[in-house]
Amino acid sequence: MTSGKQKIIWSGIAVLVLIYALFPVASILSTSFKAPSDLTSGKFLPSSGASTLENYQQILVGDAQGLFLSALRNSIGIALIATVIAVVLATLCAYAIARLDFPGKKIVLTTALAVSIFPVISIVTPLFNLWRNIGLYDTWLGLIIPYLSLTLPISIWTLAAFFRQIPWELEQAAQVDGATTWQAFRKAIVPLAAPGVFTTAIIAFFIAWNDFVYGISLTSTESARTVPAALAFFTGASQFEAPTGAISAAAIIVTIPVVLLVLLFQRQIVSGLTQGAVKG
């Protein structure tokens, strides 16, 4: 096969994959620019001359502002805090698993596995009842705690896989060369471990950012409701108008961070997701 022919075939395949991966995003992006009167046109793109920023105005500075911006703040805050806590706990845990010899290593890893396949909805009912009794219902903390059940297990597995590949002898070598314990750790180990920790944080953030079940079950007002949950409660500008445009615009805004992270850190995310899957 000539390389020219090969290139054409691969370009064709690449176009197919791109359409597969990006078409639904393009679809909702296009809907987000449609004016209310244009929504029922039955066309993919907004009618010529009818594309509008109205929907974005509505959720960022208009009527739906209160609903959307508070949800965005909640989503960012809660997902980031849940990610940081999970990554800190998982870093300590994965370090112990990769580096130290102690009984119960397998139990910790197996527990992480079991927690990650746990049906989320089974945790919701008891938490709903408990949170209402102790005042955690509809608060940030009331979501951060259950989010750990999503972010912590995968963080432990991914980081343990990363840490197993670090050549820890470097630390001793640095110490032999006269570095103090702290210097050896900071200069030799941190630069090797940091990419893994960072990648794990991205994956954990995606998972927390995606949550819907906890978001709608454990919140009731704007004080803690996250974006995915808020989207389900959007209403149109008037009672007779479907919130299609506003929901699409909001959907695009919360997709931007995902696309940015993917564009910037594609290599790290793929290695994080596949490395943990390889037997270590």
Partner: protein, 322 residues
């Protein structure tokens, strides 16, 4: 918690037995440090899952509605009898099983194709393809559900207009007014969103197939299909099994897409939605807890079957979902 997994893997008993006679101080302090570091994560994981499921089991033994908290009464397993004798439970279980089987089968095929494409792609395209694949992986499930919903919706959609040449599709077709069309769109959005995950797990498996084996088969004149079936697949069986098990368990708890698209209308309700509707909407905590526990038992059964019958080795691999 999941004893079936634990039992099959066993604790590192051999190692600790071997060292039991006399632990050096160094080994002792290493053990202690190990638990100091791993302990907090371990305790948090138990606190956010084991405790709630035990609480759910306890609550499921009571007749308890939050609208009438004073009528709380201990009724043993009556809630389970109520749930299991209700056709709604069995209908929702059926819908959940259909969704699980259909999506996992299609995702496995599609995911394999994508994994092969990512694995074999020429260098200049590799980054582009992987970046594109990660978009559905990272996107919020609710956003994906709305994207598919609006595309098919009779008012705001364009699918009816685009595909009106297919018999049965016309501008008046309301996809979300009937069981099978709604289920079709729900499954399509689920497949779109989660195939990248399965394909990345398979990509990791492909990397473990020894290159010499496929080359040797090629030299021996095996066709591409023979190489795939006789060399590649058997050598990455473990990765396939794990990918299928994780996706099965993930598909079994499907909730977001169904909630957004139909909210269970026209018989499309799934088990997670039933649990949500019972506990959160109707505030039937006793009954809802029973459904939660039953769902958990279903997951345990799936795991047990996978591990005992298909010998899936979970402990060597990683799980996760998005």
């Amino acid at each position: 918690m999941s004893t079936s997994i634990k039992a099959s893997k066993g604790t590192p008993a051999t190692r600790s037995q071997r060292r039991r006679p006399h632990l050096s101080d160094r080994a002792k302090s290493e053990r202690r440090l190990g638990w100091y570091l791993a302990g907090p994560a371990f305790i948090v994981m138990l606190a956010v899952t084991l405790y709630p499921i035990l609480q759910a089991f306890w609550d499921s033994l009571f007749s308890l509605r939050l609208t009438a908290p004073d009528d709380k009464a201990f009724i043993w397993f009556a809630n389970y009898v109520t749930v299991l004798s209700d056709p709604v439970w069995w209908r929702d279980l059926g819908v959940t099983v259909i969704i699980t089987i259909v999506t996992v089968v299609i995702e496995l095929i599609l995911g394999f194709a994508l994994a092969l494409v990512m694995d074999k792609a020429i260098k200049s395209l590799r980054g582009l393809l992987r970046t594109a694949i990660l978009v559905p992986y990272g996107i919020i499930t609710v956003v994906s559900a709305y994207a598919w919903f609006y595309a098919f919706d009779i008012n705001s959609g364009y699918v009816n207009h685009w595909f009106s040449w297919i018999p049965g599709i016309n501008p008046d077709l309301n996809w979300f007014a009937e069981f099978w069309p709604s289920l079709f769109v729900i499954m399509a959005s689920e497949i779109w969103k989660t195939t990248p995950f399965i394909s990345l797990l398979l990509l990791a498996g492909l990397a473990q197939v020894p290159g010499e084996l496929t080359e040797a088969a090629q030299v021996d004149g095996a066709t591409w299909w023979e190489r795939f079936r006789k060399v590649i697949v058997p050598n990455m069986k473990a990765a396939i099994m794990v990918a299928v098990l994780f996706r099965t368990l993930d598909a079994f708890r499907i909730f977001d897409n169904v909630f957004i698209m139909t909210n269970g209308a026209h018989g499309t309700e799934v088990l997670s939605l039933l649990a949500y509707r019972t506990s959160i909407s109707r505030l039937e905590i006793g009954l809802g807890s029973a459904i939660s526990v039953l769902l958990f038992v279903c997951v345990l059964i799936i795991c047990f079957v996978a591990i005992k019958l298909f010998k899936v080795d979970l402990a060597g691999t990683q799980g996760g979902k998005s």
